[in-house]
Amino acid sequence: MNRDPGLLDRLGGPVVVFAVVGLLVGAALVPYAWGASTGPDGTVAVVEMHGTITGDTAAAAMADLREARQNDSIEAVVLDVNSPGGLASASEQLYLAVKQTSEQLPVVVAVTGTAASGSYYMSAPADKIFVTPASTVGSIGVRAVVPPQGAPDNQITTGPDKTTTATQSEARRRVETLRRAFVGSVVAERDLNISASELSYAKVYSGTRGIQVGLADEIGGLGAAVDEAAERASLSDYETVRMESPTPSPLSRIGLNATGATTEATFEYTGVDTTQYLMLHGQLNTPDTAAQIEVRTNGTN
């Protein structure tokens, strides 16, 4: 019966050994337990939309929004908007992406500068829009350069509208179509205090006036927007992740250059596409063919 005390006994018996093993395992689990008790309930993603809206910047923002929808840890989205708008087609894509996101998650917009034209289009379906008195919203309208007329020089084309894209009346109708879609969408998304035709004036409103007309909801900065988004997602404890727009590659300059800070730099026409439909606020540097007419000395032109 008497056995030599084995290794187990020499270490203090099985109880001690199990206690030590338990201690080690427990210690290994401490970080997880700590994290579970003190860690965030979820993440509020801040998606940037800065600068003019081009195909590139819109694609980046839409990728961020898709990530927010599919990542389970992201519970709410804040759009940090400071953009004068841009391409009409890209603005519509952004509108649909934000609308889709807002159907799954709380989406709150913080206008950190300008949410005009196309960038307001994407802000409209948000649950709440924060502005500051000096930030601007509005410019609900569409613009296009008048298509050139006449036969193309030094080119052989297969049709009269190959270079001009459309006749003037067709371009006018197309702009009107886009205006109806834009104004109609804003009216549908927002509870406005102004009529659709008044909205069609495409004014730019200050943040304070924007609240009055119903284009914005509350005075507040980015922090207030994040708090609001977390509250709407029922997050008492959350972390914020900023999803910055990537710098577009130089190869993307074929159509539009997204790196330019000013609209003139971005939308300087290089003749690749003669008629761009823009939801863009600001002055465009376009040849003013309507106001100035060349007159030769013999009076014919």
Partner: protein
């Protein structure tokens, strides 16, 4: 013995692996959201988005006139309306056998500074003497007192005058006006379209500042407004609805009658909605606050073609006394116009008259 234990252990291991994998698949299937990216509806995109095009089926007709008339279109004041832009009107006149001439001046346009008042009036007046109608559109420079007196006498004598002007762009108005250089060969110069303000004022009409727009009822753009006939006038016979693009309102004196008006438009400079006169008639003078309806793309929209035909008819249906305006008419005694005929006339620079009218007077430089 050891072999059975080993087999037992492997069996347990396989069962455990299968259970774990199966449980994972089952849990994943249960928990995963099958529709993470559902499509969205844009409510406004379902509405009637495409606008209906304005009827563009008309064609500019031919005026009905018996005699062959001469219509002079002024190009001597930097008129910012090209011949191609008024092609429908010219075509209508030519089809009916009338003479259309473009008066390009050239009689001392650069000598205006030395003479105080431009000496070009004699050339214009000489041309008007052989004309039956005179068209002024978007002049960049003002008309001299002598020219105004001549045009006034021309209209008094039964000559028909048509004045057209677009709104002046406030950012470019009042500056960068340059007159075509008669010495410069074929090089072009840029002119800013203006309004014949002092000429129109002579006939009791004033062109407005700013453009008319209509946000709700328009021809697919807020600047393309609808206008209707105002009262009964031969100018609007057969006209139901006109489309003007970038039109300016007219203020008229009691002598004038409104011919075309836009009822619900607003004026850009005041943002007031009202009934604005777009075309008015003062005796033999018709004033229209728009030129775009003359252009080929707009001339056949809505009833613009009918209006244009009526305008052409108006131009050639006058009964002008021959010889007016007289060389040094009695109406030049208004002080400021006294020096108006100082320059040497150069009628050779004006287009040749296909001669059914009075011949060119070559010695009308009678300075008072």
């Amino acid at each position: 013995m050891a072999r059975t234990d080993l087999l037992k252990g492997v069996g347990v291991f396989a069962v455990v692996v299968v259970v774990i994998v199966a449980a994972t698949v089952a849990t994943g299937t249960l928990l995963s959201d099958s529709s993470t990216d559902a499509s969205v509806d844009a409510p406004a995109y379902d509405d009637q988005l495409l606008p209906t095009a304005v009827d563009d089926g008309g064609s500019v007709g031919t005026p009905e006139g018996d005699a062959t008339k001469t219509v002079v279109i002024d190009k001597s004041h930097g008129n910012a309306l090209s011949e191609s832009e008024m092609q429908p009107l010219v075509d209508a006149l030519v089809r009916d056998g009338h003479n259309v001439r473009f008066y390009t001046g050239g009689s001392g346009g650069t000598g205006g500074f030395s003479g105080g008042i431009s000496s070009g009036s004699s050339g214009l007046n000489a041309t008007l003497r052989s004309a039956d109608a005179f068209v002024v559109a978007n002049p960049a420079s003002t008309y001299t007192a002598g020219e105004i007196n001549g045009i006034d006498a021309f209209a008094e004598a039964g000559g028909r005058v048509l004045m057209l002007a677009d709104p002046v762009n406030p950012s470019s108005g009042g500056q960068s006006i340059s007159i075509p250089n008669p010495l410069g060969g074929t090089t072009g110069s840029t002119v800013t379209p203006g309004q014949p303000t002092n000429l129109a004022a002579n006939f009791g009409v004033s062109f407005g500042a700013g453009y008319l727009f209509d946000m709700t009822d328009n021809a697919n753009n807020f600047q393309r407004i609808y206008a209707q006939p105002s009262g009964d006038s031969s100018l609007t016979e057969g006209v139901d609805r006109l489309v003007f693009d970038d039109a300016t309102p007219l203020a008229t004196s009691s002598d004038s009658t409104a011919v075309v008006e836009s009822q619900d438009a607003q004026l850009s400079s005041t943002r007031r909605g009202s009934t604005y006169t777009v075309a008015a008639k003062t005796g033999n003078v018709v004033t229209v606050g728009d030129t775009n309806f003359l252009e080929p793309a707009s001339a056949t929209v809505a009833d613009n073609d009918v209006f244009l035909t009526n305008l052409a008819d108006f131009l050639v249906s006058g009964d002008k006394e021959p010889g007016a305006p007289e060389a040094a008419g009695p109406s030049t005694g208004t002080g400021s116009g006294s020096g108006g005929f100082g320059g040497p006339p150069q009628p050779g620079t004006t287009p040749t008259v296909p001669g059914n009218d009075t011949s060119f007077p070559t010695g009308n430089g009678t300075s008072p």
